[in-house]
Amino acid sequence: MQGGVPTSESANAPATPSRDIKAAPRSAKAPPPAPAVQSAKKESTTPDVAKPKAPPLDLTSLETRLKETKAIGVLTKIALKNQIDDLLDQFRDFYGGKLKITLAELRRPYDMLVLKVLSLLQDSDPALASAIAASREAIWGILSDPAKFATI
């Protein structure tokens, strides 16, 4: 970037909403777990035949759809590509030992970037937004695995 504004995710990231799950007060008179809960847990150990499977990840298709969507302007697409490339560089540096952070710390800029893309698409191209949202964990699965990442 030549004198421009850095595209660092951390600099632009809005604050994440705080989660006060642990802070929620528990009643002292809370009843002990009912037997029904235990039976439900036992049921959950049975094979998950009815569970819907995640759709197979098709990165090429998602990339093509992102390039062709009219929901995002050309400059915005290039700016997003810049930010994606920056994130991929961070992963390369991380796996190369140049970046002294944890994988968990790379998850935040990844999530932020996905959210940016989703917010840009959700109104004008909801189908693509859904496809990207559904692929979110699968893409992270590739990024967070050095062997899979090397194949990108």
């Binding site: 030549q2 421009g4 632009n12 995002i72 400059l75 290039i78 700016a79 930010q83 940016k116």
Partner: protein
């Protein structure tokens, strides 16, 4: 003769009526694109109200909040937003 002039005037008006919204829509999409790029960089804008094009990917955007930005694609194919 009068009929012919009327026909020409009508044709011009028709073209103007259809072409102007198309141009305005294009203008609006560029403004939206510029606004999105500016905000993607985390910079304040509010809304791009006007812009001047210096090239295909080279614009000066004026925001409602008074900020002005030079938005362009540099030689490394990176979108750069410079506050003016």
């Amino acid at each position: 003769m009068a009929t012919r002039v009327t026909d020409i005037v009508l044709a011009v008006l028709t073209v103007t009526c259809f072409a102007t919204p198309a141009l305005a829509a294009d203008d609006a999409s560029i403004k939206k694109d510029l606004f999105t790029v500016i905000t993607l960089q985390g910079l304040p804008c509010g809304e791009v109200v006007t812009f001047t094009s210096k090239g295909d990917y080279d614009h000066i955007a004026s925001c409602r909040d008074g900020n002005r930005y030079h938005v362009f694609l540099n030689a490394q194919e990176r979108v750069v937003v410079e506050k003016q």
